[in-house]
Amino acid sequence: MTAESLVLITSVALLAIGAAGVLVRRNPIAMLMSVELMLNAANLLLVLAARVRGNVDGQAAALIVLVLAAAEAVIGLGVALALFRDRERADVDEPAEVRG
């Protein structure tokens, strides 16, 4: 196995772990952390592609994804805190006002 495919497989596995985490967890904080795992997996792939191509454009895109992740975390945590601050348990299945 080459070093490139090792990193590639790691990235894919991290994406799958994050997706499974979003589905299996009911705590909004844990779900957001799983989303962060998926973002990190995509970032790893971008940096690997930049290295393989010998071109820094992928690294620049990874930097922009970092900023996006920060904005996403701020909004997601704000909503989670506003919804679950006064509740006994932080469980996304419980609030009745969240209907989709």
Partner: protein, 166 residues
Amino acid sequence: MNELFLPLAVGCAVALVSGLLVVLARRPVHAVVALLGHTLSLAALYLILGADMVAMGQVLIYSGAIVVLFLFVVALLPQGGSEGPPGMGRALGAIVAGAALLGAIAAWLTVGPALPPTAATAGGGVVELGRSLFRQLLVPFELTAPLLLVAIVGAVSIWRRQERMP
């Protein structure tokens, strides 16, 4: 690039184990600590792959800002945000979905085009990165500024409305 195999393998192993711990930890505080280890291991991977600037951004933004934000929210939630146990169907669905995603991507990787040969050297340093950010990626880069502003205003307004309601 194969002389880097061993450090990359160590970094990948740490990233995978800590990623699994993030999903499997029952207590949110443990998951946050695992997320901290995960972000640091990815920063190490970026360093090995020659992306110094991204590694620094990862440590500053992820390990420094986002993980601390998660810690604050866990501390502010009652009981640190405990949750009910995942139902049998939910766990089964997550496993099936994760395995299907993994299988689909693995199938594409084997059928799809192979990786191009790796360049002899990593792309240039900060100067070249800045050139890329301000030429090809100028519009998305500039759009991150209003995005962050909207995120800040949105977070504050969500909180303010909550304050008035109780």
